[in-house]
């Protein structure tokens, strides 16, 4: 069968010739085999022994409840009473009480696999976003090594502008948290809560500040104060003059 892409392909069911491929295949398939055995034990209460010798001569084994126990049981089949007794006992155990720790581990495994599924879905969405963006084909979204001198310089300055915004925003982010926390506390002190909300609205409402207004028993938050239009006239005038001077 001829395929257009090198995705998952069916392989010929015979001894592999390539040595490194053989090792990788053994490792993957051994894991898959043990996985199937483990699931079969969980789902049906069976007890399974697997022994596999690797191409390099190492031995891998899986056993539930344990390799040694199953080997011992397999090697001593003639004790009929023991077999019957164990069979009944085994049946009883399976019916009434699965291993609690194994069930716990299986639950964790199920959860991890579900999370993986979510991340894979998310990756598909992100891939679609990237694909639609690349179809537009803006020059600045090319790979870095495809840019020329002017493009690189312009992209650098644009990114530095974004970076400046970011740094300023990060700085504000810290203060905003503190300011909100502070205002929350003062609101609690007032007690009713309504007064706090009103004050908060007044703080946010610029140019409505009355310099003669008195706030009894309340200290307004520090970091929003100047944005209400409170200006120091002398400093302000001096600054205005100096700024105009710099402009000319």
């Amino acid at each position: 069968m001829v395929r257009s892409t090198k995705g998952r392909q069916k392989i010929e069911m015979k001894k592999m010739e390539n040595e490194s491929n053989l090792q990788v295949t053994f490792s993957k398939r051994r894991f898959g085999l043990f996985k199937k055995a483990s699931e079969l034990c969980t789902l049906s209460g069976a007890e399974i022994l697997l022994i596999v010798f690797s191409p390099g001569g190492k031995v891998f084994s899986f056993g539930h409840p344990s390799v040694q126990e199953l080997i011992h049981r397999f090697s001593n089949p003639n004790h009929n009473s023991a077999i019957v007794h164990h069979q009944n006992n085994n049946l009883q155990l399976v019916e009434t009480r699965p291993d609690r720790n194994i069930q716990y581990l299986n639950n964790i495994l199920t959860e991890v696999l579900a999370n993986q599924e979510k991340e894979k879905q998310k990756r598909m969405v992100l891939d679609l976003l990237k694909e639609s963006r690349e179809q537009v084909g803006n020059w600045y979204e090319k790979d870095v090594k495809d840019l020329d001198m002017n493009e690189t310089n312009q992209l650098i300055s644009a990114l530095q502008d974004v970076k400046k915004k970011l740094v300023r925003e990060m700085s504000q982010y810290s203060q905003v948290n503190v300011s909100q926390n502070y205002f929350g506390q003062s609101s609690g002190v007032i007690g009713g809560g309504n007064v706090g909300i009103d004050l908060f609205d007044q703080r946010r409402n610029a140019f409505n500040y009355n310099p003669n207004m008195v706030f009894p028993n309340h200290t307004p938050p520090m970091f929003g104060y100047n944005n209400d239009g409170v200006l120091v006239p002398i400093s302000n005038m001096n600054y205005m003059s100096s700024y105009n001077f710099n402009q000319s």
Partner: protein, 278 residues
């Protein structure tokens, strides 16, 4: 439609037996494929509640041979790669968690990249981001800028230059970078002088902050925006000296600084009122 099978004992006994039969067949098929492909020896023994006689693959004699070979090994060699179901599931959980973390990292990286291009085009506003995204985006941009800088070096070595100007990234390239923040709702009613107004706002803002906070902020700005800091210093020096706080080189923790600020707030807040009343 294949249904997601819950990893626990199947309650219905008929369904359990059916599943056992099918899956046992599948497992032995996988064992056969492994032996054929890799040319190795292997065996399986299955005890089940549904059959009093254990099932052996490839045959009873085959299992005996493999078990004998197994038992001839030293105890160390036998137990080195031996797992029971509990151990195997634990190993599998660790492997899958590693895979999950890898997926998460990849997705986060893709998200940050989309975010960066969004900011470049003006589609995304940095003010809407939370603290962690801000930091991650900042780091990503730093790495990207490093890549661009290396690109410049390569181009200089090759002596390349191009006269064609690239298209602008943002449609409104002349938009000023304002001093905006979620908690500081500043309304600019003087449309004719936006830049001047913004600098005025910035100056007033710093004038109201006590010395310690000011030092903290200046340190932050100094690390990443040297030219802007120089401009501020120049403007500040031209103003009245008495009201300008000194720059403190120490880096204060914001929480502690703000607690210290609270104790001095009444004095600072009263001053403007007195000035305005005169």
């Amino acid at each position: 439609m294949k249904r997601k099978m819950k990893l626990s004992l199947i309650e219905n006994s008929v369904s359990r037996k059916t599943t056992f039969t099918k899956r046992k067949k599948g497992m032995t098929k996988k064992l056969t494929e492994l032996v054929t492909l890799c040319g190795v020896e292997a065996c399986a023994v299955v005890y089940s509640p549904f059959n009093s006689i254990p099932e052996a693959w490839p045959s009873r004699e085959g299992v005996e041979d493999v078990v004998s070979k197994f038992m001839e090994l030293s105890v160390l060699d036998r137990t080195k790669k031996m797992v029971d179901q509990e151990t195997f599931i634990s190993q599998r959980i660790a492997k899958e968690k590693e895979q999950l973390q890898k997926l998460r990292d990849e997705n986060h990286n893709s998200q940050i990249r989309e975010l960066m291009f969004g900011c470049l085009k003006g589609e995304t506003n940095v003010y809407n981001l939370d603290g962690r995204d801000l930091q991650d985006l900042s780091l990503y941009i730093d790495k990207y800028l490093n890549g661009l800088t290396r690109r410049i070096e390569i181009l200089i070595e090759n002596g390349e230059s191009s006269s064609s100007l690239p298209l602008p990234i943002v449609a409104n390239a002349a938009a000023p970078v304002g001093f905006d923040g979620p908690m500081f709702q500043y309304h600019n009613q003087n449309q004719q002088k936006p830049v001047q107004f913004q600098y005025q706002a910035l100056y007033d803002f710093y004038d109201q902050i006590p010395k310690k906070i000011h030092g903290f902020n200046m340190n932050m700005n100094k690390d990443s925006n040297q030219s802007m800091v120089l401009d501020l210093n120049q403007n500040l020096n031209d103003g009245e000296d008495e009201g300008i706080p000194c720059m403190d080189n120490n880096n204060y923790h914001p929480e502690i600084d703000c607690l210290a600020t609270v104790t001095t707030a009444p004095t600072d807040v009263c001053a403007p009122n007195i000035t305005n009343d005169l």
